[in-house]
Structure formats: C-alpha cells, structure tokens
C-alpha cells in the first residue's frame, strides 16, 4: 500500500488525536492541572465508547452494503429490557438471559432485513418505522418502567477490572473478527459489491436478498450485544435508554470514513469515530460546559470532520 493510502486510512486517527490534544490543552489551561489525560478519565472514555462502538460494528457492515439502520437505538433499549425481564420475571441466570437478549437483537435485525428486501422500500423508511415499533415494544415489555433484577454477572461487563472491563475486550475481539470477515470472506466481498454497485452485483450472481437479510440480522446481533453493555452500565433494563443512539452510531461510522452511498467503511475507522464522539462529549464536560454547549460543539465538529474528509477525498489525497 502506498504512503498516500496509508495516510488516508489513518486520517480518522489523526482527527482523533487532534481533538484529544485540543481538550488536553483546553482543560489543562482552564483548570490548571491535567485531569483529562489521566488513566481514570481515559478508562471512562473507553467505557462510554463501548456501547456506540459495539453497535457501530454492525452499522459499518450495513452502511458498507449501502443500507442504514435507524432502529439501532431502539434495538439496544429493547434488548436491555429483554435481558432484565428474563432474569427478573423468568429467573434465568445471567448467561442464558444474555443469549436471549442477543437473539432478540438478531430477530429485530432479521425483521428489518426481511422488510427491506420484501417490501422493496428504502431502508431509511423501513428502519424509521421499526425505530418506533421496537421502542414501543420495549416500553410495552417493561410496562413503561425500568426493570431492575437482582445483581448478576451481567452488571460487571463495564466494571473496571485490571486494565479494561470485559465488555471493552469483547468489543476489541469482535472488531478484529468483523474486520477479518470484511476483508477475507465471500460475504465481506459481497457486502462491498452490493454497496458499490448493486446492479453489477446482481448481474454477477451475488445473492442480493440473502446478503441484505444477513447483514441486517448481524447488525441486530451487534445491537443486542450493545444492549447488554447498556444493561450493564445501569444494572437494569430501561425502555427509554439510548435515545438518539442511532445518530451517534451512524456518525461514528461516517467519521470513520463510511459513505452513506455504500461501498466504503472500515471497522477501525468506525471505532475511532466512536472514540471521537465520546472524547468530544467527555472533553466538554471536563471543561465544565453546560449540556447545550456540548451539543452545539459536537454538531459543529461532526460537520467539520466529515467536510474535511470529503474535501480530502475529492482532492484525491
């Protein structure tokens, strides 16, 4: 790979470093000491990134194939409620309950995939619909309340262990897995092809329908995993959790080089994108800024980051 291609691949990382440095200096000069780049705060950033990062793994594959899943936030809320209900109401132990939640996530994704391919309606609309449907289902299942089971092993997914909590390690391993699948499997090649030129892929005999159903289902499974992390963070199932999470997830993928037109996107980029978003939020709160200002800053930085990326793309740099 040429130096230029490497630079292109590393550019999200450079952006992340820039944002990091900015807050390091800004927080330091404001408070007079380094409270930003401390092991404790870095750990917090990693934890906060884990939920978005996990969901972004699935979203990367979906966006790569030219699709989108707006229902991911609702999927996360629903699966965290499913895990909680299975433990509290059915008395299931932690592990089977976790499996149940992941399965529920997969079913949500399957629903999206089947609707997108059978009804021939664009995924934006389909998943806008399932965003409401799944959120409603979560609230109905939880009876519009938070579901709080007894303490279990699931609570500790995002607890700080020796270096990083198990949920973060899980995310890292799955990220490597997804990257390998995208690069080295027939399924991965088909995802790229469908997103890049669906008509050409169909002509070449790529099973379009099956590929799409599979990718939405996998996206749902990652939604389920993110739901477990969400559960673990609060130690309860909250049907109103993760509002607007889909926007953070999609933004993470796009900042990481994903193209909403399909055909582009990378696992590393999306994870960096997730860290990028969390770093901004974390940095703003370290600055002691009020919430409204954080939101405005985050919005501005998203637009800047993507605009710079597209500009770089056009220039062929």
């Amino acid at each position: 790979m040429s130096a230029r291609a490497w630079l292109a691949r590393l550019s999200p990382l450079i952006g992340l470093a820039g944002v990091f440095l900015f807050f390091l200096i800004a927080v330091w000069s404001r408070t007079g000491r380094n409270i930003f780049a401390t092991p404790g705060n870095l750990q917090t950033i990693a934890l906060q990134s884990a939920i978005v990062g996990m969901a972004a793994l699935g979203m990367t594959m979906i966006i790569l194939s030219g699709g989108i899943d707006l229902s991911i936030g609702s999927t996360v809320a629903l699966t965290s409620v499913v895990a909680a209900c299975l433990m509290k109401l059915r008395g299931w132990p932690a592990f089977p309950a976790a499996c149940g939640a992941i399965l529920a996530g997969g079913l949500c994704g399957l629903l999206n995939g089947v609707l997108v391919t059978r009804l021939q309606v664009v995924p934006f609309i389909i998943t806008l619909g399932t965003l409401l449907i799944l959120r409603g289902a979560a609230k109905g299942l939880a009876d519009e309340q938070t579901v709080i089971p007894a303490a279990s092993a699931l609570d500790s997914l995002l607890d700080v262990g020796s270096v990083l909590p198990s949920g973060v390690w899980m995310l890292a391993m799955l990220a490597v897995g997804v990257a390998l699948v995208l690069r080295h499997t027939r399924f991965g090649l088909h995802l790229h092809a469908v997103g890049s030129n669906e008509a050409a892929a169909r002509l070449c005999g790529v099973p379009i329908t099956r590929t799409k159903i599979q990718v939405y289902t996998i996206g749902g499974v990652f939604g389920g995993l993110a739901g477990l992390l969400q559960y673990s963070r609060l130690a309860m199932g909250d049907p109103t959790a993760a509002p607007g999470l889909e926007l953070d997830v999609i933004t993470a993928v796009v900042i990481g080089g994903g193209s909403l037109a399909g055909g582009e996107g990378s696992v590393l980029g999306s994870l960096v994108g997730a860290l990028f978003m969390t770093t901004i939020r974390n940095g703003c709160s370290q600055m002691g800024w009020p919430n409204y200002r954080t939101e405005i800053v985050a919005g501005v930085i998203i637009i800047l980051a993507v605009a710079v990326d597209r500009w770089r793309h056009r220039r062929g740099l």
């Binding site: 080295h184 499997t185 027939r186 399924f187 991965g188 090649l189 790229h192 092809a193 997103g195 890049s196 030129n197 008509a199 050409a200 892929a201 169909r202 002509l203 070449c204 005999g205 790529v206 055909g263 582009e264």
Partner: protein, 471 residues
C-alpha cells in the same frame, strides 16, 4: 436450425403495450465472427440485446445458442449460459479492486473464506490473455480510466467463460489510441472462437472490426451481409430508409461583431467556431470554465442572463433532469414565477414541432425518450431561452443519424438566419469540418489559433491534435 451457428435469433417480436419494439428480427452469428448490429436510435437494437441478455422475454421467436434452445429467465441465467454484455455504462463495482470485480459472483473460497491466491491467479490469467498485464489486479477500479475499466469488464466476461460478447458503443467514451488497442484485443478474442456482437453508430468502426452486419430499422431486420461487400453509404441508406440528403447544410453566413472573448476564444456573431482535439485535451474543461461551471468565474445563472447557454456532453447526469417532463426540462433555465401547465404546453409544443421530437406529450418524462430526442430537448432549452451564444459540448454523441441531421440543420439556421454564435466541441472530425466556419485545435490544455475551415482537413487537424505540428 442451421448447423455451426453460435447464436441464432429468428422472428423475434416484442411489444410493450401499444408500442411494437421488435417486429420480426433475425440475427445469426457464427463462432469467431464479429457481427455489427447497426440502426438508428429507436430501431430496436437495445431491446434486441435485452432479449438476448435475458432482461426481456420475447413475445414470439426462437433463440438458439450453439444449436441448443436458449430462453433465459433473467440476465444472470444469460450470463451463466455465456452471454456477456458490455454496456456503455459499465457495470463494475467501483470500490472493489480489479481482481475482486473479475471473480465477483464466482469467488474461489473455502468455507466462505476467500482464496486470495487463486483470485490473483485467475485475474492475472485473464488480464494476460487480453495482453493487458499493465493493469494491476489489486488496483481500485474507480481509479482506472474508462478504457481500462472496459478491459476489466471484458476480463470478467472471459473469466466466466463467455461465448458471445456484446459490446454496446464501446468506443464512445474512450480515446482513439485505446480504441485501436480494443480492436486488436477483439481480433484476438475472435481468434479464440468467441463471437462478438458489435453495436456502434460509427460505420467506419464497424467496417474495421466486423465480418458481417445486420441493419435494424423500426424493429425489423432490413438488411445485412458481409461487411466487405457494403459501402458505408449503402449501410447508412439502409438505416435511414431513404437517401440521407445533405447531412451538413451550410447557408451563406456573414460573421459580425465579436460576442465572446474569453480564455483565448474569440467568437463572432453568425459563425460556428469548432474546437478539435483528443479526449482529455481540456476542451470540455474550457467550455465549462467559459460557462462558469466548476466554481470559476461568474456563476452559470449569470451566464444565462448574459445570453449564454451550454449543452453538456453528459446528457444523463448533467444535461437533463431525466425524471422531469419535457416541458420542465425545456423551460428550466427560464421558469415563469408561476408555472402554468397551459403555457408550458404551448411553449414546448413549439419546440417539439420545430425539432420533430418524437414524444407522447410535453408532460412525458424525458428519460423515456430516445437519446436523440432527449438531445433535441437539451438544445431546445437554449433556443427557448433565446441565448446569443451557444456552447455545445459533443451535441451529437451517441444519437442517431436522423437526429444528428436535424441538429446540424438547426445549428446552420441559428448562425445564418438568426445571427447567433455557436462554439462547438466535437471529437468527430467530419462533423467539425461540416458545420464550422473556423476550427481551433486544443492540445494538452492549450488552444491553438482558429483557422478557416477551408484551410484544414481531417489529416491536418489530427496532426495538430496529437501535438506533431508544434514540433
């Protein structure tokens, strides 16, 4: 059934609602034969090829492939049976590498894991077969020039073992020297026994590559035979159905004052100034700069107000809004504040009649018209706006002879009768010589002096365009 034929189509009929697209077409191609399929736009060539590829099922008629009945349900089955189509708009996945495109759909894999070595081997093999080893198998397709992308598509067709290769206007978007390489490559494929159906508007090109030809007109086969026995004039006569009159009309023109003087271009009232040059010489960019596209100089809206209009070479993406109606496209540069359908209809009828545009109504979607009729509307937009300066970029690319003749006639009227000025970029030298008063040649971004058309000919233009004259 005739023994030894690769492809045989007999009595093919296809209708869409009330429109008869194909009304009894016969086509026979032998192994290792290159067969030119010619005809004006709307003659039924594309429909026939869609029947062949499996995109359309014929209402009547029989297809045979190497003697066996052939009735594909969809393009995928057609492809599996060995029919490969190379359309003008290439069907490659731009984000994938060359080798990934070549093996797409037939990837060698073990338990779903790609066998990268085997992929590389197959891609290298088919590229070597085409003698195009200079294309790197791991290059991203989107970074390759059009001519190379075309080679990748042919390599993909070979990798799945195609028996019939259909090429639709393959030279329309590639430079001349690449076209020569393509012809040499086609010769090699023919030598391997692959049959080729070659569709082109350029009769000279068909004569260069094809052994036999078939002419379609109004959905029927109206003639055919050995290429060597036919003159281009005879073939054009068959396509048109009558003798083409004077293709390039030229009335008395009296150039007046200078209307436009920018970027080294000096354009007078009542003249057609042509710009010749190779593809990539910067002619399109020059027109775009003059018109203020691509963010330099005044905006296009200001240019329209100054009475300058532009017809883009890229009809589908830039020239027209294919989803809108004829009337909307026609009046887009000069819309009334309140759009009244009655006024739209009367204004468009005027141009539809004047340019003999074949359409159902002014409110028909323009994307449903043939290329020639679309192009007439693109030109009519400038006429409706009543601009003084017309910037035309490849105004007759990919359209049929009949529409071309009407466009030439209109250009002549504009400069001789209405005292307008036309700046014409074209890659087709006879067209430049036929329509222009003065011709300038552009070489690597530099525009040469404009010479009266009497002082240049095809040879001298090509000589200058390839940069030989300067030396």
């Amino acid at each position: 059934m005739t023994a030894g034929l690769r492809l045989e189509m007999t009595g093919v009929r296809k209708r869409f609602g009330a429109t008869v697209a194909l009304d009894g077409v016969d086509l026979a191609v032998a192994p290792g034969e290159c067969h030119a399929l010619v005809g004006q736009n709307g003659a039924g060539k594309s429909t026939l090829m869609k029947v062949l590829s499996g995109a359309h099922t014929p209402d009547e008629g029989a297809l045979r492939l190497d003697g066996a009945p052939y009735a594909p349900r969809d393009p995928l089955e057609g492809r599996r049976r060995g029919i490969a189509m190379i359309y003008q708009e290439l069907s490659l996945a731009p984000h994938l590498s060359v080798e990934e495109n070549i093996v797409l759909g037939v990837e060698p894999a073990r338990f779903g894991w790609l066998d990268r070595k085997e992929i590389r081997r197959r891609a290298t093999e088919s590229l070597a077969l085409l003698q195009h080893e200079e294309i790197a198998p791991d290059a991203a397709v989107s970074r390759l020039p059009m001519a190379r992308q075309q080679i990748v598509e042919i390599a993909r067709a070979l990798a799945i073992g195609c028996r019939v290769l259909v090429l639709d206007e393959p030279t329309s978007s590639i430079p001349q020297h690449d076209a020569e390489r393509l012809f040499a490559l086609l010769d090699r494929l023919l030598g391997r026994g692959i049959s080729i159906v070659y569709i082109s508007h350029f009769i000279e090109e068909c004569k260069r590559v094809a052994d036999r030809y078939t002419v379609l007109r109004d959905g029927r086969t109206v003639g055919g035979g050995a290429m060597a026995d036919a003159t281009p004039a005879q073939i054009v006569d068959l396509m048109v159905g009558q003798k083409v009159g004077q293709l390039y009309p030229r009335s008395t023109r009296t150039p007046g004052e200078v209307l436009l003087s920018v970027e080294g271009v000096e354009l007078r009232r009542g003249e057609v100034l042509g710009i010749a040059g190779l593809i990539g010489a910067g002619r399109t960019e020059l027109l775009r700069r003059i018109f203020g596209l691509d963010g330099v100089g005044p905006a296009p809206a200001a240019r329209w107000r100054q009475g300058i209009g532009f017809v883009s070479e890229d009809r589908k993406n830039e020239g027209l809004a294919l989803g809108l109606s004829i009337a909307d496209n026609l009046m887009l540069s000069k819309l009334d504040p309140i759009v009244l359908p009655s006024r739209q209809a009367s204004a468009s009828r005027r141009w539809i009649d004047a340019l003999a545009v074949k359409c159902a109504s002014p409110f028909q979607r323009i994307g449903d018209l043939s290329g020639g009729n679309q192009q007439k509307i693109a030109l009519a937009r400038l006429l409706h706006h009543d601009v003084d300066v017309l910037l035309l970029d490849e105004p007759t690319r990919g359209i049929d002879v009949g529409s071309k003749a009407q466009i030439y006639q209109r250009i002549d009227d504009l400069v001789s009768k209405q005292n307008k000025a036309v700046l014409l970029v074209s890659s087709y030298t006879p067209e430049l010589l036929g329509t222009c008063d003065r011709i300038a040649v552009m070489v690597r971004g530099k525009l040469g002096p404009a010479r009266p058309v009497g002082e240049v000919d095809e040879h001298s233009l090509l000589f200058e365009a390839t940069g030989e004259a300067a030396a």
